[in-house]
């Protein structure tokens, strides 16, 4: 027998009505939300005892029904989040106030606010001290993050721990994330051991949250478009001369060309745009000469195609569907979730398909014995993930080697009837074969790649509680990845046709036994302690087979169809790490806390004598507002001081200790080739240890936590790193594996958050964070003052294909290059490369002919930013929620190889227009054209000599990297979402608890960049110090519907 209860919910403070408040029958699924007037009406079963009212920012309230049919409630604003629980290392839940180090937690709903698919990008701006190293969204892959600057001379990434399993951020399904905690320093991560030396992101997956049955459905559709491209010039077309060529039929030319004498054309085989002016002249485009083309023999007006590059890219569409079921009973808890992602990219013929199934549940077999399991199945198919970088056939070509007059729609017919391929870069009127470049559509549709990833990871846990205080657990964790890839170079394209296939298997087994104890001594002293034994084994297996020298039979893409002897490779690795570790947490009277932890690892990758290493830390927290030392008051409602000191160790990948003599993958015919590898192994390696300490405070002001302030200072010194020391090749080696160096990072992280407005109509929650990191290379190896470094990691898991080889620099053969260096006494990441020669007044010095002079080895600045941060906001107004996040970076340099190429090949806007004489810049200097380099001669007299614009860009600027070095400062509106809780009345009798519709946008607005270079988004650079032929940045707009039953 049901009865109906109605009522109004108001705010206790100002008596204003509260819409959107959740009203539930206690211990049941029945519930509703208040409407715009704060009213609710709920059908209540006769056995119901109470209603539960809950709303963001207010304390939940449980009201007994006691037979009433009208229940009006005034909700009090929630007080300081004293009780907030944070998941820390090893998944241990801790009260936030008890932590002696900075740990920032993000709720899953904030991660999925704008339905960003990439887990790391979704973190942008939300956690202080975490810098997102973007990369274009067009790549489908995960970006990387850097926590608290660079601690390692060879880069490094944090680990991602999902319910205890260390896995890849690519295989985390945002829809399943309950919360995540970013652990930044050694004090927080020491219990994870050596893998977490660069930080840890601890992810807790959703469980069934409330008693009974829960069902939620989520559907997202987003549309992705290219939003920034370089500024191209639209005055001159392809070729290398402003003069037209005139075709004259010659005796050996094909018969079908005989009527075309007198036709104007430019040198199609030149892949630059230093050609004739696009003034409407009737000329022969590349397809004019192709008898199979529908426009064969038709002249065309030579006019600009300002959008030709943009026309290549299309609108990418992503649909993401998630359905999750949960059921909670007295002795069990289960959640099953299924997600399906279907995505097409902005580059033609690129797609990603993904299916995730996740199970998370536990069962109380007896009151003392609990078994739980979490299993995540992840299956992904990637088709033609677009590549980027110098010389890649699409993005690389458009911004480096291209013609500004090309019509993209004429290139869409990439295949001729006879099976050969068209190209804009034909060798000449009588020769339609490609000179340097295929048609970009040939690249997209013929030179294809596929990758399939199958990953299963999860854990099985059995826990026995001897008493309420003593628990014994056994945990088995596993992470299994199977990845297979294939790639083809099409028959008849510019490069020899090829086919290769590879398969990569990664297995991690991890077994942990633990004993945990939790006890109160008297009323005031609490103790929580744990002891753990762990054994971990990492196994990889890689198999590759590929053709060599072309395909024996064209169009048959198999590895055995190889013209020359095919290549085959197998690589197996094994690494075992055994560990013992433990912690003890002491608490005194809810205001004084002390944590101690210690860990010893034994690693098979280290030499026998140095295999075992011990480290650990201590941290403390003092909540002075609870200590009785100061009066409780409404101004400073919460205050805490924290301090920590810790040491963390790290080791290496296997097989870097003993010398091998490698078999070359390129034998001389049937004769094997064996060589000494360029990296010298080291039998005396020791583990790396880094020491850090950290001091911080957290303060809350005004009743209801209107203002929250967190301040943290850290200092970390990493010594004796294991690194491949790049050495002078004249030693016989390129790198030597050594323990070397000392690098110090120290910095400040601050966040200021709060709820400036909180009334019945409007709740505004805002959080601003800023982090300053200062880095100094204290020492390198003896005698070394400079060391080329790999900020993007040493190449890491190249076999899995997720991370490219770390680059230390970039340069063309024989030309001046630029590189990233660690220089003793300076911050990490000094860009060193060629620069302008300057006089004492910093004027550019030009030679007698007016061309700039060059100095090699100029310090162009550090790649590390001065500060980074973000600003996140959530505004709720009458059931409408608006969220947005901004992130920013100040300082840090990068080099744009794209800009260098754009200018050198005449594509850039800077190569056209009028010069100071009012004459076209591209005209001959002898007729008043040319470009004047602002500078002085050696003797100090100002330069007045105009020089040829092409020579300047192609021959001089192209070798001066300073010209293309930019400041990475930016401010970006990264995400916006506008959501509305749909009124329940719209759904009639459907048993909906809530329905929410939102409009989401990612990358909507690059608000500011200091570089002011169009086409480059410093927040999405290809690597952390340069980009070249990068994929364009994209912007996404879409909608999301979330239904909860």
């Amino acid at each position: 027998q049901n009865s109906t209860v109605t009522g109004t919910v108001t705010a206790a403070a100002d008596k204003g009505i509260l819409p959107g408040v959740s009203v539930r029958v206690k211990e049941s699924q029945a519930g509703t939300v208040t409407d715009a007037n704060g009213h609710y009406s709920l059908s209540v079963p006769s056995n119901a005892t109470a209603l539960v009212f809950s709303f963001v920012g207010f304390a939940p309230q449980e009201v007994p029904i006691s037979g009433r049919t009208t229940i009006n409630v005034a909700l009090a604003e929630s007080s300081q989040q004293l009780g907030e629980v944070v998941v820390t290392a090893l998944g241990i839940s801790r009260q936030e106030k008890s932590l002696g180090y900075a740990a920032q937690q993000i709720k899953g709903e904030n991660l999925t606010m704008t339905r960003q698919q990439d887990f790391n990008t979704a973190l942008a701006g939300k956690v202080s001290g975490v810098q997102i190293l973007g990369g274009s969204g067009a790549k489908f892959g995960a970006s990387t993050v850097r926590i608290r600057g660079i601690n390692s001379l060879s880069g490094g990434n944090p680990i991602y721990v999902v319910n205890g399993v260390v896995t890849d951020p690519n295989s985390i399904n945002n829809d399943d994330v309950e919360s995540l905690t970013v652990l930044k320093g050694p004090a927080a991560t020491a219990l994870y051991g050596q893998r977490a030396s660069e930080g840890a992101v601890v992810i807790t997956l959703k469980k069934g949250s409330k008693k009974g049955i829960g069902v939620s459905l989520n559907q997202t559709t987003t549309f992705e478009r290219v939003y920034t491209l370089p500024k191209y010039q639209n005055e001159y077309g392809g070729g290398d001369s402003q003069e037209w060529n005139v075709y004259e039929y010659a005796a050996n030319d094909p018969e079908y060309l005989k009527n075309f004498s007198g036709t104007k054309y430019y040198n199609y085989d030149v892949d630059e745009s230093w050609g004739p002016k696009m003034d409407g002249t009737k000329y022969a485009p590349w397809y004019f000469w192709d008898p199979s083309n529908s426009d064969f023999g038709k002249l065309k007006s030579f006019v600009a195609q300002p959008d030709n590059v943009r026309d290549f890219y299309q609108t990418g569409v992503t649909t993401n569907n998630n359905v999750a079921f949960s059921k909670v009973g007295d002795t069990y808890n289960a959640r099953v979730s299924y997600t399906n992602l279907n995505r097409t990219g902005v580059s033609p013929n690129t797609s990603q398909k993904r299916n995730n199934v996740s199970f998370n549940g536990d069962m109380k077999i007896t009151p003392k014995f609990t078994v739980s399991a979490n299993i995540n199945v992840f299956q992904e198919n990637l088709k033609n993930v677009p590549s980027e970088g110098y010389g890649t056939q699409t993005s690389g070509s458009f911004n480096q080697w291209f013609h500004r007059d090309l019509e993209m729609n004429k290139l869409k017919d990439y295949r001729r009837p006879d099976g050969t391929y068209t190209t804009w870069n034909i060798s000449g009127p009588t020769d339609l074969t490609p000179k340097y470049w295929d048609n970009p559509y040939t690249e997209a549709y013929v030179n294809t790649t596929q990758a399939n990833n199958n990953r299963v990871y999860g854990n099985l846990t059995a826990a026995y509680n001897f008493t309420k205080e003593l628990k014994l657990s056994f945990i088995a964790r596993g992470d299994y990845l199977n990845r297979d890839q294939n790639a083809r170079v099409g028959s008849g394209t510019i490069n020899p046709d090829a086919y290769s296939e590879s398969s990569y298997q990664y297995k991690e087994h991890d077994y942990v036994a633990s004993l945990e104890y939790d006890h109160m001594f008297g009323k005031d002293l609490s103790l929580r302690a744990g002891a753990f034994g762990e054994s971990r084994e990492d196994l990889t297996k890689y198999v590759f087979a590929g053709t060599n020298g072309g395909l024996a039979i064209p169009y048959l893409y198999t590895t055995d169809n190889s013209l020359d002897r095919p290549s085959a490779t197998t690589i197996h690795t094994t690494k075992v790490v055994n560990s013992l570790y433990g912690y003890a947490s002491l608490g005194y009277k809810q205001f004084l806390y002390l944590d101690l932890n210690v860990r010893n690892d034994w690693s098979s990758a280290l030499p026998a004598n140095n295999r075992s290493y011990l480290y650990g830390g201590a941290s403390g927290s003092f909540v002075f507002t609870e200590s009785g030392l100061i009066e409780k008051n409404d101004v400073l409602t919460f205050g805490k001081l924290r301090a920590s000191v810790a040491k963390v160790g790290s080791d290496i990948d296997p097989y870097q200790v003993y010398q091998t003599y490698n078999l070359s993958t390129v034998p001389y015919g049937s004769t094997p080739i064996q060589f000494l590898p360029n990296a010298l192994p080291n039998p005396n390696l020791q583990p790396t240890l880094s020491t850090s300490y950290e001091l911080g405070t957290e303060l809350h002001f005004l009743r209801g936590d209107r203002i929250r302030f967190d301040f943290n200072y850290y200092h970390r010194n990493t010594k004796n790193q294991i690194l491949p020391l790049p050495v002078n090749g004249t030693t016989g080696y390129s790198t030597i594996i050594v323990n070397a160096g000392s690098i110090v990072n120290h910095g400040i992280e601050m966040s200021l958050g709060g709820t400036p407005i909180k009334n019945s109509n409007l709740v505004w929650d805002a959080n601003f964070n800023i982090a300053f990191n200062r880095n100094k290379v204290v020492s390198l190896y003896p005698e070394f003052n400079t060391l080329r470094s790999t900020p993007d990691g040493a190449g890491g898991s190249t076999l899995s294909g997720f991370q490219g080889a770390g680059a230390t620099g970039f340069g063309f053969v024989g030309s001046p290059s630029f590189s990233v260096n660690s220089v003793v006494g300076q911050p990490y990441g000094q860009l060193i490369g060629s620069g302008f020669r300057r006089d004492a007044n910093n004027n550019i010095i030009v030679d007698a002919d007016g061309f700039p002079e060059r100095d090699d080895n100029v310090n162009l600045g550090s790649i590390l930013p001065k500060f980074t941060g973000g600003f996140t906001n959530s505004i709720t107004y009458k059931g409408v929620n608006i969220g947005f996040s901004i992130d920013y970076q100040y300082g840090g340099k990068f080099v744009s190889v794209t800009q260098q190429n754009l200018a050198g090949s005449g594509l850039a806007l800077s190569t056209v227009g009028l010069n100071e004489n009012g004459k076209p810049r591209r005209d001959d200097p002898s007729t008043g054209g040319g470009t004047l380099v602002k500078g002085v001669h050696e003797d100090g007299t100002p330069n007045t000599t105009f020089v040829d614009t092409r020579d300047l860009n192609e021959g001089y600027y192209s070798a001066i990297w300073e010209q293309y070095t930019y400041d990475a400062t930016y401010i970006k509106l990264r995400e916006v979402s506008v959501g509305y809780n749909l009124p329940k009345s719209w759904f009639g009798r459907i048993p909906l608890q809530s329905a929410r519709f939102s409009i989401v946008a990612q990358n909507p607005w690059l608000i500011y960049t200091k570089a002011k270079v169009k086409g480059i988004d410093p927040s999405q650079l290809q690597t952390s110090f340069y980009e070249g032929g990068q994929l364009p940045a994209t912007r996404t707009l879409g909608f999301n519907l979330n239904l909860t039953f």
Binding site: D240, S241, E243, A251, D269, V270, G428, T433, P434, K435, Y436, I494, P496, G549, L563, D564, R565, I571, H572, T574, V576, N578, W602, S604, A605, A608, P654, Y655, V657, Y658, T660, Y661, L663, V666, Y668, P672, I673, Q674, L676, N678, L680, P726, N728, G729, T730, T731, G732, Y733, S734, I736, V738, G814, S815, P816, S817, S819, N821, N857, R950, A959
Partner: protein, 475 residues
Amino acid sequence: CKKITDDMNVSPNQPDVLSTGYGINSAIQWLGGTGGGNATTNINSAAGELYSQYLSETFYTNESRFALAQYDYQGYYTGPIADLNQVIRFNTDPALKDAITTLNFGSNANQIAVARILRAFVFLTVTDRWGDVPYSEALKGLSELTPKFDTQKDIYTALFKELTEAQAQFDNGGLYEDILFQGDVTKWKHWANSLRAVMALRLSKIDETTGSAEFKKAVADGLMTSNQDNATYKYLGELNNENPWFGNYRNRYDYGPSALVINTLKANADPRLEVYADTTSTGTIVGLPYGTSGSALGAFKIGNRKVKGNISQIGPAYASQSSPTVWTSYAQILFAQAEAAHLGWITGGDGQAATLYNKGITASLAQNGITEAATATYLAKPGVVFDATKAEEQIITQKWLANYLGNGWESWAEYRRTGFPVLLDPVPTALNADKHIPRRQQYPQSENDLNKTNYNEVVARQGPDALNTHIWWDK
């Protein structure tokens, strides 16, 4: 918990011993170059062939206009030299020298001799390109991370010693799996002595006493005696080991024979013309003037293998997939002897010089498959007949022609030493400061970054680290 054992960290993927013969072949293959690319370290690198003006660039003309300055020699050290040092170690170390993985490839002495000859050949190439380079302190790994630069003079002295000892070291213990001379130790010996002669002649302007003494010793120990002795690297008919000009002619066609080569050949109706260059679309043979750049290049079209242009491509004998390249030829050594005779270093004077000069031409023509009749006709041309008053120019010019697309570094070195043949110098369109053909190449960036003290020292001693600084023997 899985027990950790020491062997767990031993790589199952790579061997822990060197099969020494495969290490020797690694060095040889490295110098020939792999993958069809023309690395800047190949013996027949584009840069050397361009500096010698055998070739002109058809479109991107940076290298032929000397815009590239820093060339990297580190690969020579980490590649062939490091491998050869290991070959020597495995053949010397008592614990390793009797291993089957060593003795399978011949006697210890023979393998050591071969490794020393190859190593000397690499160092000769390196010092002739850069001048003073690390030698005595190089290749010591961790124990010497900043090797000092040895003077070129000291390096030459050391290489004379190395080659002299190595050629005397061969025994009857065999040599197997040798991809350069197929295990013929006599040919190795002749090559070693011929390299000594080449080096000796290099000293003609700086130290004639040493040069002439070393030359005589080299002759006494036995130089190359026929084209069979040529140090010929054989490219294979597969992409990974193919001729780099063939690789370039897949689609790029960056290089064509220079007008200088073509016109020099035409001047005397040289029968090698049709071998060195292919015909144009109209059946003629036309060279591309060296240094042509910018819009002036628009008039020259090299075309491709199927559709010829109006300038010649490299002839099929030199640009097919398995076309060999000759690092040191019998003809070259005959010309070296001709010059030595002319200089009075060996007996016979200009009469002997003329004989050797004619033998050199004959050897080169034979090497290119020219008939004896055509050779005789050519030798009789007025522009070919030996003229003692122009001995050096004639000998070096013929040596240059003989060495077409062989060891370009060698031809460039001989140009620097003698000023012959008469190349276009300065190159009007050049992008380097003085527009002259480089006198050396700049050190790699790594010396400045990682070896600053020694780098500063060598710059102070040798002169600025620039293309126009003359090296020791080039005075």
